[in-house]
Symmetry: C2
């Protein structure tokens, strides 16, 4: 597995069921959402801007894409059990390691996890699992994504304290592909 | 990682939060349980019986253990939102592959997943994830378990149709160690 195939396999519309375990107080959160992943051109203005802000040569970019999501969660919902809705979008720009096609960096625009741009380090394990590690100012995130079949993928995310010693939230998404990406 | 270390790391009492995604109708199930994993002697009568029933030489056994669980689920709960409680216990008997210490078979007694005994095939990936594949008469199960740290582990389980083409249930457990096993 490499980032080219991984992004290609990810393009399309996904229906996601996500469960978050907030570990400090053993709380369950239930989230359903629709996720759209569409390809971007390497010379897309936002891609070029994000590269520039990280001082990265745009020639190193592979398969940039936009991810958008819209859904609802039972977190912070009122006592009458109404859901809280949310939506967002961000761009993601892979920068493969020139010396190792199974690893690299992933630039993310505003809007994902925290409101500031971030760089994560990814690699693929031998069984094709995508592993992404991102360090934020106040926390660290570890994400694993793997395909069970072309139309079904799983995602496990951990949010840890910035020192990495404690896990605050562990979440699990099962994602079913609904449609291919529109060109 | 090999089965010896994996079982040793697993001994103790665990507090488990589990979310099951029933995919056909996008249902969330929430389960909390306490899991006890205690070592058994290789010449324990139940271990010898299970080996005999599978015609396996008891000399090949490594680190047999008993797993017991007790918890509650919101599945099948009444409209007044009472929880359904459950409990169970089974023995598990690893039979490492003599030619490959990172793989082998896992015998399970009655009580786990289905009420009949089963043999699964396990292996460890390069990053230490335990992967167990079990084929039942009417379904197939795939389980991945990995340690985030010695006191916190994650488990992802898939139940598929016996042909393996469709996934029926995807579940995720986060397990915190409460206490070391009693001798």
């Amino acid at each position: 597995m490499d980032i080219t195939k991984f992004v290609e396999d990810s393009l399309g519309q996904w229906r996601s069921q996500r469960s978050a375990h907030h570990l400090t107080f053993s709380h369950f959160e239930q989230v359903t959402s629709t996720i759209d992943i569409v390809p971007l051109a390497k010379d897309d203005a936002e891609v070029l801007d994000l590269c520039k802000s990280h001082e990265i040569d745009p020639q190193m970019v592979s398969r940039p894409f936009r991810m958008s999501w819209e859904g609802e969660t039972d977190w912070d919902a009122d006592e009458d059990e109404e859901k809280t809705t949310f939506k967002g979008t961000t761009i993601l720009v892979p920068i493969p390691d020139p010396d190792n096609p199974q690893a690299g960096r992933l630039l993310r625009g505003e809007g994902y996890a925290e409101t500031i741009p971030a760089i994560g380090n990814y690699h693929f394990t031998e069984d094709g699992t995508f592993v992404l590690l991102t360090t934020y100012e106040s926390a660290a995130a570890e994400e694993k994504i793997w395909f069970v079949n072309p139309n079904f993928r799983l995602r496990v995310s951990l949010i840890k304290t910035s020192g990495g010693t404690g896990t605050l939230t562990a979440s699990f998404s099962s994602e079913k592909k609904l449609a291919l990406a529109q060109d």
